[in-house]
């Protein structure tokens, strides 16, 4: 049952709100049709969601408000019980877990960062970060020693004894991030963690997150309503609308092959050179290509300067160093302006 490659698996997940939702679940497995829902005045916040989240990947759930993204993550963390369907955390079905086991999982395996930070106003930075360990009954000295390491990690050294109201929004969320990491969880949920911050700070925090993830390699589930943010940090993105998952793909995949007009509308505004990789735009192997080769997995935007500065197309190599094609100015300029590919 346990599948180490997919720590989170959702199977036909439904969340229905309204009177008699539970009764409906008993009679209409695996899932009700829209007419039944409408006739009983029920609201489906999640409709038949099935997806797998791989170990160590940054999985972004993207959707506008009311799309069900928050409900989905609340189901994954057990904050809200699903009406129908299964949710497996490391192969364990959340539905079958005892309350004690759920507490156990939350204390050691998963953790969460909140949109409005949810810092406790009466505790210092150090106290807030150490709080999850306090709940576990770990003695003060060891938990504060561990918290001090995390203060360092998130760049708040020197502010250990500050109280939350004395910090800026960005700093407060750094505390929230440090707190969520202190238990060394395997799965890290971030529920719109940067939405309350202003754009410059948001950008900085995204960089910070990617820096942390490069060393920590957690399984990350990141909720956002900001498509720019999603493509910046995601390995894969799930786009939600009206409680359904419309498409799950890499940022590049979404841009190259949007599943429907809704997804296409999002991708249209995206600077393509920041999403597309060399492999999607390269030309055929050409004898004229000279100079230092570029990798086929590099982002077009990252190699653009070199290609534009070169007199001839550059050769493109794969991971083994084999030449698989060439990249010329035409393709780079076309990518930026969205006229080819």
């Amino acid at each position: 049952m346990t599948d180490p490659t997919f720590p989170i698996r959702c199977r036909n997940l439904w969340k229905i709100y309204g009177p008699g939702a539970a009764a409906l679940a008993a009679t209409h497995a695996p899932g009700p049709d829209p007419e039944t829902l409408a006739s009983r005045g029920l609201l489906a916040a999640l409709r038949d969601v099935t997806l797998d989240i791989g170990k160590g990947e940054v999985f972004v759930i993207m959707g506008l408000s009311g799309s069900g993204k928050s409900t989905l993550v609340r189901c994954m963390t057990g904050l809200v019980p699903p009406t129908m369907g299964d949710l497996l955390i490391d192969g364990e079905n959340l539905r079958d877990m005892s309350p004690d086991r759920l507490i156990e999982i939350r204390r050691h395996k998963i953790s969460m960062v909140f949109q409005d930070f949810a810092l406790l106003p009466h505790l210092t930075v150090l106290g807030n970060i150490a709080f999850p360990l306090k709940v576990q009954g770990i003695d003060r000295e060891s938990r504060e020693r561990r918290a001090a390491e995390l203060v360092e990690l998130v760049g708040l050294a020197g502010r250990e004894s500050h109280f939350p109201h004395e910090l800026s929004g960005g700093q407060q969320q750094r505390v929230g991030i440090a707190r969520s990491l202190i238990t060394n969880p395997e799965i890290w949920f971030l529920d719109e963690p940067f939405s309350a911050l202003d754009p410059l700070i948001r950008h900085e925090m995204q960089d910070e997150l990617m820096r942390l993830q490069a060393t920590l390699n957690k399984t990350v589930v990141f909720i956002t309503h900001d498509f720019d943010e999603a493509i910046r940090i995601a390995d894969r993105i799930a786009i939600m609308r009206g409680g359904r998952v419309v498409q799950v793909d890499t940022p590049e995949g979404l841009v190259l092959a949007p599943a429907d007009d809704y997804v296409a509308a999002f991708t249209r505004k995206i600077p393509r050179h920041r999403v597309l990789r060399v492999a999607s735009v390269l030309g055929p192997v050409s004898a004229g290509a000279t100079g230092d080769p570029v990798r086929n997995t590099a982002l077009v935007g990252d190699v653009a300067a070199r290609v534009l500065a070169a007199d001839a197309p550059l050769p493109v190599v794969d991971g083994g160093g084999t030449i698989v094609g060439s990249l010329d100015r035409q393709s780079v300029i076309g990518t930026v302006f969205g006229v080819n590919a």
């Binding site: 904050l79 204390r107 909140f114 949810a118 106003p121 709940v135 004894s161 109280f163």
Partner: protein, 677 residues
Amino acid sequence: MAAAGLHDARQPRPGPKVTRAAALSLLAGLLILAGLLWAAASVLPGWVWRVPAAWQPDLAGTVNRAFTWVARRAEIGSLAVRDITRAVASLIEVPLDLVRGLLVEGFRLRLGSGLRFEIAALPWWALTAVWGMLAHRIGGRPSMLLVLGTCLYFLVFGLWTPAMLTLASVSLSVAFGAVAGLLLGAWAYRAPRLDAGLGAVYDIMQTLPVFSYLVPILLFFGFGPVAALTATVIYAMPPMARNTTLALRRLPPSVTDLATMVGCTPRQRMWLVLLPAARHGLLAGLNQVIMLSLSAVIIASIIGAGGLGNDVLQGLKSMQLGRAFEAGVGITLLAIVLDRLSRAQALRRPAHGAEGHGRGRRLGWQVAALLLAGLVAAQLFPPLRAFPEMLVVSTGRMLDQAVAWANIAFEAPIGALRDGMVRHVLRPVKDALLALPWLAVTAAAVLAAARIQGLRLALATLAMLGFIALSGYWDQAMISLYLVLVSTLVAMLIGFPVGLAAGLHPGLDRWITLVIDTLQTLPTFVYLIPVVMLFGLGDFPAMVAIVLYALPPAIRYTKDGIARVPASLIEAADMAGCSPRQKLAYVQIPHALPEIMLGVSQTLLMAFGMLVITSLVGTRGLEQETLVAVSKARVGEGLIAGLGISFLSIIADRLISQGSQRLRQRLAGPGAGQEHP
């Protein structure tokens, strides 16, 4: 939940028509009433006018017998209830004796036969120093000076002992009330069903006159400080419970999610996350518990709680008004100190560095050392125990003479004011209310309730007024009602223009706010002192005391209502070419009207609160029945008359606040802020 009753089928939609309909029905009710009166004299049977004695069950007697039986005879298992209550009383007495011993009385220990050992109480200088230090930490230098000044006042005027007795009762009542309120509030948060039920109980607890539940408490606990403490806790606890539930409910959802996500057990969730995160709300509740405790402790002096209230009461009774005045000023100072400090503590936010653990601990050691030094020094050197006699002064005699002189000098204007009010306002209103047939009053009130809110309120009104009528206290109820109505009207007549001025002129507002904030911290009892000094006893001084006490909400709500008119609306009025007078009449006052009506209902509730205390200056309504019941130890009469006051105030409050809500919905416009369909 309340919305269920709001929307029975015949209820018209909220909108302009509703209030017009309500006004029309009120008018209709009054017309019916007038018609009845006109036609009635000979035609109507007597039971329309007066409730026949045959209809009135002997409620009071039954209640009396039941309570007496429980208190004297009843047994649970093999234990008599009486023994149980006495045991509880002696249990409560332990902490009470400890605090009183420390602050005032000292301890007498008996070691074996004939061997006695006395420990002196903490001396005045140690306590003053410690409180000064604590005040400095909480509120800085101004708070410290206030505390030191207050202590000096008590010492110089020879009020130290009664002040410490009062403080001992207040601190214990606050401790009990805060803990009980916190637990009940947290419980209600976890069980919303319970919350609705508790809310109704709190309503009654807060509107029931203190005297009413003093009697049963006396029956169970006997005369003295324990009974006073119990009554005080009952009176002061509800706001703590309500504030706790409210503060917990207002926490952002992410805080509760956090508690879940870090894997809290239910107990950790409440004590480590929810309650600390809600602490500002809890401290606001604590402030109210402190102020209500002080108020109740003063009142409880009539059943032997002692303290400053006792000095006031004795002064009033023996017409040594100077003495009463000095003690009254002492109560006022104590109230201001307690309010300032608890408010400052509630608003305080922790800052890094300024108060590391080291610093708090150091203060703790200093306080402990000082107290210990005080105990030892007082034990070894008796002269250090009490404040030197020769430094104590009293202005009592001088004040008495001043009052006597003022009463003679201003007899003409004061007398004219008093007699004029009594002859032309008070007595006619009272006679009119007493002349109305009880059936017509009840019918009009029920009709109004049905129109303003719906079936639920109408039934509740019917039940409550019916209870008053059948209990045989109808006339007393009308007398209570008349005093409250006249006082509320006068308070509004003064409060509305003052509030209007404050709302329009922010500069004036600062001073008025300061005055009404201070007025609001004063315990009810204090208001009686100057009033009795100037006007003696009777309905007129009672009215003046009620007006003074009920004035702050009349001013505050008017002021807030005017100040909260949106700036864009004012600018629109200016741009439409309104004159200031037109702006006031067509924009500001109409917009502030719901808020002002809320102010009326608050004023009315305050008036009912003060009414109870005015029984001490000889009013004749239900409140007097509750006071008499205390002196005769009649549980039944006290409870039933008290419930009558409680019911009157609940009906009046619901009618007016529901009306205000309707008005607010109308102002918000169709669709805005509506309840569910």
